[in-house]
């Protein structure tokens, strides 16, 4: 019995700092902010209780659903390129290769530059009037006319490229850290058996990386579905809403910037959209989590 009591103390004692901090500074503020979703509230004046009206409006809000579709394309594109690419890079740079520390540092560099600065640089590279990319492609006759990389047709591709560029370094490091837990002798014995690099990758690396990989992909999903800062500075969601993503839409409702006419925050509706967005992110992440757990059991 005494033993049992001690175990409880250990368990909850270890959990306590995390629990209290999360509850007080993480969860409570979310509820504080979310209560507005049942109100019509503009940041001043009366808060008018309107029940589920904000959600009825949300249901018919084409701009939001367009943002949802854009987000899925954006997050899907980003993950589909980033995860395999950074895993391959991590495996290559894990061991053996000469100069790998130098390359790791190079690949990591993009993640330390501030978003605002990067938007300026990407504009210099991608703008259609005198962008470096168009100059290069035109000079080498790879294209016949300037491509409008930030125009309605290509803007989504460009923001995905920006996202991938900013993410590869992070996921490479996470995978590298995960690779450290794979015992080196596994590879050595496989080599003695004459396994090729590709065989080693599928037979040892991927299965052994399982739990870490599951967390990394989960992280990638939530992060990409949530991301909006780099889009905000590069395209502001434009042109004509082509790169508007969910949280950017929420941000604009809560912190509108406009010139010439008064600025009105839509705190009530913004909170409702924010809540719906969080649910969407949560459901997709949860769905992945279940699926990956099932897959893990099969292994």
């Amino acid at each position: 019995m005494r033993m049992k009591w001690r175990v409880h103390v250990e368990n909850y004692g270890f959990l306590l700092p995390s629990f209290l901090l999360t509850a007080v500074l993480g969860i409570y503020p979310i509820f504080w902010a979310m209560r507005y979703m049942f109100y019509d509230y503009k940041g001043y004046g009366d808060m008018i209780y309107i029940g589920f009206d904000n959600f009825t409006r949300l249901w018919g809000d084409e701009l939001f659903w367009e943002a949802v579709r854009n987000t899925i394309v954006y997050a899907g594109g980003k993950i589909a390129i980033t995860i395999p690419l950074s895993l391959i890079i991590a495996v290559i740079l894990d061991r053996g290769l000469k100069g790998r520390n130098f390359l790791r540092a190079l690949y990591f560099m993009p993640t330390v530059i501030s978003t605002a600065v990067i938007a300026v640089v990407f504009f210099i590279i991608f703008n259609s009037y005198n962008g470096l990319l168009n100059q290069f492609l035109l000079k080498n006759r790879l294209i016949s006319g300037a491509i409008d990389w930030l125009g309605p047709d290509y803007a989504m591709l460009t923001v995905i490229i920006l996202a991938v560029w900013g993410a590869i370094g992070n996921y490479m490091l996470l995978f590298l850290a995960g690779l450290q837990s794979i015992p080196g002798d596994l590879y050595e014995s496989a080599e003695i058996d004459g396994a090729s690099a590709i065989q080693k990758f599928w037979k040892i690396t991927v299965p052994m990386l399982g739990p870490v990989m599951q967390m990394i992909i989960m992280l990638a999903i939530t992060v990409s579905l949530k991301g909006y800062e780099s889009i905000m500075v590069l395209t502001e969601g434009g042109p004509v809403g082509k790169t508007e993503v969910m949280y950017l839409y929420v941000y604009k409702l809560l912190f509108p910037v406009s010139t010439g006419s008064a600025m009105i925050q839509e705190i009530g509706y913004g909170s409702a959209v924010g809540f719906a967005t969080a649910i969407i992110v949560g459901v997709i992440t949860g769905f992945y989590f279940m699926l990956s757990r099932r897959l893990n059991k099969i292994y």
Partner: protein, 279 residues
């Protein structure tokens, strides 16, 4: 495998690495080169090399963003919150992975749910009012606590790494008479080094780049401002256009501390067995 094939595959490998290097480094290079350009040249685009090297951008950015004082505040916030985040998240991650107890599922869902909300500025006000209650509203400790509280990502990443440490380690140590605390501290944490290294780097970078929290907490105490607050002010100067050139110089300077932390973190996932696999 014949020699020829090996050379071809080597060549493809290096070509791949080179292309990725070009892709990642070119914008970085443009940032560094851009930090030496004039504001007009930057806003006009079209050039790679500065027409004229404006070294004065750095001196100006250093002065205007108050680097010499603000750097220390930034370092304090980043180091304190990184250490705090690692301790809090690794303790929680350890029990959640190793033990079963009532409320475990609730705890994990609670952690996860904080990750789905994205806009920090929304929850700023209740957080600040809490800090006013405990009189930390004019202290950088308030910022540190809030940064530590956002440790869900670290928690989940570390969970992945805990799972990868075999449970035999715990059991063997238990038999040797180590306490739960002792196992965590002496056995598990050292094995967790790669995971701790990478999450420490991310936590440090997050804290280093955090803008709105230090802004609000130093509203009435400008001496405590952090570097990001100073850097953001660089964007606007005496005129209606952005001072992009100073912003770039400032950004290049403020990258350096993160790179230093990176080199330490990188050591935690350098293969100890490096060199044993020649190929």
């Amino acid at each position: 495998m014949n020699g020829m094939g090996k050379w071809v595959s080597r060549g493809i490998l290096w070509l791949f690495l080179l292309i990725i290097a070009l892709f990642t480094v070119f914008p970085v290079l443009m940032t560094i080169l851009g930090s030496f350009k004039s504001n007009l040249e930057l806003a006009s685009g079209a050039t790679i090399w500065p027409k004229e090297w404006h070294f004065s951008n750095y001196a100006e950015a250093w002065k205007q963003a108050n680097f010499s004082t603000y750097t220390w505040n930034s370092l304090f916030v980043s180091v304190a919150s990184t250490v705090g985040t690692l301790i809090v998240a690794s303790m929680a991650g350890y029990v959640v992975d190793r033990r079963n107890f009532i409320g475990k599922r609730f705890f994990v869902v609670m952690q996860a749910s904080t990750m789905f909300i994205s806009i920090g500025a929304v929850v700023l006000r209740p957080q600040f009012e809490l800090m006013v209650d405990i009189r930390l509203n004019q202290s950088l400790w308030g910022v540190v606590f809030i940064l530590i509280s956002a440790h869900a990502t670290t928690f989940f990443i570390l969970m992945g790494f805990f799972k990868a440490i075999p449970r035999d380690v715990d059991e063997a140590a238990m038999i040797d008479g180590c306490s739960f605390m002792g196992i965590y501290w002496r056995m598990i944490l050292p094995l967790l080094k790669p995971g701790l290294g990478v999450t420490a780097l991310f936590a440090f970078r997050n804290a280093w780049n955090e803008y709105i929290l230090p802004l609000v907490f130093t509203m009435n105490t400008p001496k405590l401002q952090t570097l990001t607050v100073g850097l953001t002010n660089l964007r606007y100067g005496s005129g209606a256009a952005m001072q992009t050139h100073l912003m770039m110089a400032g950004a290049c300077l403020s990258m350096l501390p993160i790179l230093v932390v990176y080199f330490f973190a990188n050591r935690s996932f350098m293969q100890v067995t490096a060199g044993s696999v020649k190929g």
